[in-house]
Symmetry: C2
Amino acid sequence: MRATVKDVARRAGVSPKTVSNVMNGIVPVSEPTRLRVEQAMQELDYVPNLSARGLRNGRSGVIGLALPNLGTPFSAELAQSVVEVAHAQGWSVQIEETGSDPQREQELMTRARANLIDGLILNPVVLDESAVRVGVALPPVVLLGEVSQELADRVFVDSFAAARDMTLALARPGRRRIAVLGINQGRKSATAIQRTQGYETALHSLGIPLDESLMIACDEWTPGSAAESVLRYLDTNPLPEALFCFTDSMALGALNALWRRGVQVPEDIAVAGFDDVADGRFAVPSLTTVSFDKRVIASEALRLLTERMADRSHGQRIVSVPYNIEERDSTR
Amino acid sequence: MRATVKDVARRAGVSPKTVSNVMNGIVPVSEPTRLRVEQAMQELDYVPNLSARGLRNGRSGVIGLALPNLGTPFSAELAQSVVEVAHAQGWSVQIEETGSDPQREQELMTRARANLIDGLILNPVVLDESAVRVGVALPPVVLLGEVSQELADRVFVDSFAAARDMTLALARPGRRRIAVLGINQGRKSATAIQRTQGYETALHSLGIPLDESLMIACDEWTPGSAAESVLRYLDTNPLPEALFCFTDSMALGALNALWRRGVQVPEDIAVAGFDDVADGRFAVPSLTTVSFDKRVIASEALRLLTERMADRSHGQRIVSVPYNIEERDSTR
DNA sequence: ATCTCATATTACATCGTTGTAATGTGCAGG
DNA sequence: CCTGCACATTACAACGATGTAATATGAGAT
């Protein structure tokens, strides 16, 4: 049977509230009493019941982190950053997977209101205005990524600009036949749209006409799906001079597919990714990518979330996280 | 202001307990009453307060998942499996990172007792008997991996046998100079010890004398650390015929290092890993590895955990998850 | 009409913690 | 010696949901 404040109080010869005061440190407690209470807590191996505290305070100390696909290295690195930053501030993190399912995204927002979660960091893929039922009191939510959403705070990397810059970088040594991988045919993700537009804008500014046959579909955004798409593509198309993949995961799959076909990277084709995951840095060849600090995303998201929890009235806030084109062996 | 059972009850013209009965479905409720209550819940957009429920029931519906390093692809795939299996059974998952710190591992076990966590799935790296204070009432815990621990249930892949089999597989085409990567110099992890012993046993059965210079240290188990170790190793040592890395992550780093040095895989050296992560399947060349079903690990761990929660009295249970040597391009 | 008995519903107390308001204690100033 | 005041401590209620035990309701048997 676990000890409660009552037990500690009895043992220390004080009231339960005094024990609470010792723990919370807001109401002053005299030195001798504090020592007696602390010793009693030690002796009884007291651990506060967070459910009770959560009920009383209306806050659980837990935030939710919801990502479309938990199995990717990118998710892992992001989750790691969020957990570390959150932990440093005394928060726990509950993870959820949306599987890019708008209904599940919606459900998670509702669930947050069940009060085991004080706030939610959500990386939506398809959530747009229509998915958010107006009139429902939303919990504090911070969205990650490029979503047109007017009701929640947001942290994002400028995918449009980054994709544009990467395309320009790929074109610099005179490459003109630059392909992209990651166009979604079915549900179109906001991210894919932004990156596609960045690509198109870059081509336009270079005076390179848009070539539909260089835009390779791949709706799963996994290395497996990417490898498959690239293999199929190579069967019926001439080799482009460069391949810009919308994620590192896809780029790794693409590298594998090219290698299988005996295509040399970067000699025959330059390859680039997006996200800067660890496995990309050590790919063969090491992968050029759009890099950004996931720790910054995590801390900014948490900052917005906590500020929003303290003051729910202020307007929508949007934070842009800087990125950087990281040139590695796959493009030189 | 969120609606409570009381609000729903008032609106439906019943008592709070009846609302509760409708939700839980254990105590029978007449059809007309149930409909009235359900409609009231709808209208008020009622969501139960899980803190209150947790306090009353003593169970929160949340389990903890604690891994040494959340940033790795392996962690991501495992966490994904756990979340999916847990979700299917109505559990939420809170993630924690131990950073291989025994004190943090201990702390998490204590924290679990704070009752926001009904049980803990812990992948300990260094936790041994001494780290578990006897006399402390442990929460239901399931350990992942090879840990000599008598007090908690456990799910593991037989690292010893798998490492032995992989070593034998590497030796099959007549390779004799087989190196291993992943020996820890500082804190020795149970996993590393098992895999090392499997390696040694295989060599012994093949009549190959143990060569200390073929056992490469790398205590971080990340691709970066592995690449560094391999590069340093190649500077001062002749090339082995095979390299068995204790994780896929390290193997990816090793592949990168070998490629940098112009060493051909598998022509000049065969490379193998352990864990079968997605990025290994699409490495260049695709990585031979010890494969096992992470979904099985997740569901077995959750099964042991829930069974233990229902009946805390029965003895320690240990489940071994089958593995398989997956031969890919990096060894043929 | 009366008494069972099964079933549906309710009042009440409780889980552990903490805010509020009240009480107790000791000391300085009049 | 009493008042006033600062400070430490306490009693009590409340957060929201649900198990327990008691009560209400109605059908069937006598």
